[in-house]
Symmetry: C2
Subunit: 230 residues, 2 copies
């Protein structure tokens, strides 16, 4: 049975789930092929077998795994002879801090800047659902949230600052070559460029050159779907 990755699909072939990007890169890092099964928000029934309602979901033979972190751990344990995503037990444990930090701090600071752009990139059939759930989360209309974009930039800069500081010292978050912590961070930039022309990084920011290096990986995997130039 072919390996399958169920991932989020927007309009015009856009993929803006940062979590699905983490899994795409994790699979590529392991050199594992998978059939991508794009699912709009309205197509959750496609992966109902997983017993929950969020992508990414990986189906690997008889095994189903959901949640990008769990999938990364599954791939690492199931395919130990392939290139390591974590470089050992300590690296795996430390990568969890990246996972938590990016989920909470970076995503939390980035999403409001582009929330209307995300809305406009969803499948038209998903928009009522998306607007209702996100406006409830933000307690405001999507248009009003994104209109505060420039006032919210300092919060994004604050969330990016420790990441930039690390890359002033080393080429990748995982050292001389990229691994899972790099994919965690990249997912947020892939979200942004999947939906918005907004420039997030100044050219002199170490993250700028890092992102360019990341976009070259695996035959240009980062550019395999519709996205804005950076």
């Amino acid at each position: 049975m072919k390996r399958q990755l169920f991932e989020l699909l927007g309009k015009d072939d856009r993929r803006f789930s940062p979590y699905c990007w983490r899994t795409r890169f994790a699979l590529a890092h392991k050199g594992l092929e998978a059939e991508y099964i794009p699912c709009t928000f309205g197509e959750k029934s496609k992966f109902a077998f997983s017993g929950q309602d969020k992508v990414p979901v990986l189906k690997d033979g008889e095994t189903s795994v959901h949640d990008s972190w769990s999938i990364a751990c599954y791939l690492e344990d199931k395919y130990p002879d392939r290139p390591s995503l974590f470089g050992g037990a300590v690296g795996r444990a430390e990568a969890r801090f990246f996972n938590v930090y990016v989920d909470r701090e970076l995503q939390g600071a980035l999403a409001p800047l582009i929330i209307l752009d995300i809305f406009n990139s969803t499948d038209p059939a998903d928009r009522a659902y998306f607007r209702e759930t996100r406006e409830k989360r933000f307690g405001a209309k999507l248009e009003d949230v994104q209109a505060q974009r420039e006032q919210r930039r300092p919060a994004l800069q604050k969330a990016l600052a420790p990441l930039s500081a690390v890359l002033a010292e080393q080429p990748f978050f995982c050292g001389e070559s990229p691994a899972y912590a790099d994919y965690i961070v990249l997912g947020s930039f892939q979200l942004a460029r999947g939906v918005s022309p907004l420039k997030l990084l100044e050219p002199n920011d170490p993250l700028h050159a890092w992102r360019a290096r990341m976009m070259e990986l695996f035959g240009g995997l980062a550019n395999s779907t519709s996205s804005y130039p950076v």
Copy 2:
């Protein structure tokens, strides 16, 4: 020639440098003995041989290393057969994010809450120097900075939140047992309890139980100098 660690000394045998605590724990993790050479701010001449003016400084035979991160890397490379501080190249690279995050975000949020307590814990001969340099940094009198303590607590909680979230999932930042990333975080708590009775953590915070586990390590190394109970 005996191994020597030059570290910061306050009044009443207090040690409040978070960076020196990182190095103390790194040495203990490696099972390496060192003679501690306590230095007040006024005694920088003791380690002038290092060519700079900050502790910690490690003198290991003919080698002198300063800066806690550089010392940790030195110990890892010089004593590869001892227990690893990083668990490999990826773990070392990822630990740098902890180093940056704690230096910038956690220390930046913690220091203002206890800055007058730190002042009162310095050697009396150091106080004019300490007050002048820190009041310049904060742009305010130390008394006025610390008086804003309760208003500044949310910033500390924000800096601690991603760390707590990690420890909700695993016992140590480095996994099933502690390593250097744990010592990086511990240093800030050692600073706080070295100078202040201020309670930083609620008992139900995963950091609370983690700190208790850390305080048991290496025969109670965390309690080897004067400090407040937590």
